[in-house]
């Protein structure tokens, strides 16, 4: 991918990601999150990870965001009313975040391989679905089945949690 496209999608992802936490209206936040995830999926595809990019769109931009929007509409949450902002806590939270970002950036700056470009692949089209599927069903067969049990437990748990208490 050309550097131009990379920077477009990176800036898109970061700007809409920031809009998620800056918006007061939860519906606007959810829609910004969708755009941010679409930009992220383009970044995945620029790394030749087409399978991950596709399931990013399907699972996050599709299923998870519909779930979020459903819950927002179900609970009828409007834009939160302005409350008295605890400036001490807000400054502390922002300060900790900035310190975290500076720390990570310093680590990346001193990480020698980070300055190298990506090595070329053997061919431009990689059948990554085939490769990931083969790994999933051979090396990672047990974790794959455990994840299946986890999803089942989550489903049962959600049904139990959202059931009304019998009186």
């Amino acid at each position: 991918m050309s550097p131009f496209l990379f920077w477009i999608f990176a800036v898109l992802t970061v700007i809409f990601g920031a809009a998620v936490i800056l918006n007061r209206n939860p519906v606007a936040s959810a829609l910004c999150l969708v755009v941010s995830f679409l930009g992220l999926s383009a970044l995945f595809m620029s790394l030749d990870a087409f399978f991950v990019g596709i399931i990013q769109v399907l699972v996050y931009a599709g299923a998870v965001m519909v779930l979020f929007l459903f819950i927002i509409m179900l609970l009828d949450i409007r834009a939160e009313e302005r409350r008295r902002i605890n400036w001490l806590a807000a400054t502390g939270g922002a300060g900790v975040s900035v310190i975290l970002l500076i720390q990570i950036c310093v680590v990346i700056k001193h990480f020698q391989p980070a300055r190298r470009i990506f090595p070329p692949l053997a061919s431009s089209t990689t059948d990554d679905v085939w490769n990931i599927g083969r790994l999933l069903f051979t090396n990672y067969n047990l974790p794959f089945q455990i994840v299946g049990v986890l999803v089942l437990v989550a489903t049962i748990g959600v049904v139990l949690l959202s059931r009304r208490e019998p009186r």
Partner: protein
């Protein structure tokens, strides 16, 4: 040219945005969305490292992409359970603001 560090910086910025959302916002739905942002930032650096480490057969490191697959699956289950908890909480208290939920505060 785009280096590995560029992807790592984008991932770090996304992670920090999610972290700031968890620290600063008090709406539980926004906090859940910020958690998703942080998980996706970690996924981005995983995929970048997977593409960076090309093996002798000229293919990227697919173990990392399998890990991303697991992260996405667990994150989807986590969102479902988290939103169900949110609905149950809203039923009991009619609020999604963390400042109003202080029963367990020491």
């Amino acid at each position: 040219m785009i280096t590995l560090g560029d992807y790592l910086v984008v991932s770090a910025v996304l992670f920090t945005i999610g972290f700031a959302g968890v620290m600063l916002r008090r709406n539980l739905i926004i906090i859940l969305m910020s958690l998703e942002l942080m998980l996706n930032a970690a996924n981005l650096s995983l995929v970048a490292f997977s593409r960076f480490r090309v093996g002798v057969n000229g293919l990227p490191e697919y173990n990392a992409e399998v890990f991303v697959f697991f992260v996405i699956t667990v994150a989807a289950a986590e969102v479902a359970v988290g939103l169900a908890l949110l609905v149950a909480l809203y039923r009991a208290r009619q609020t999604t603001d963390v400042a109003d939920i202080t029963s367990l505060k020491f």
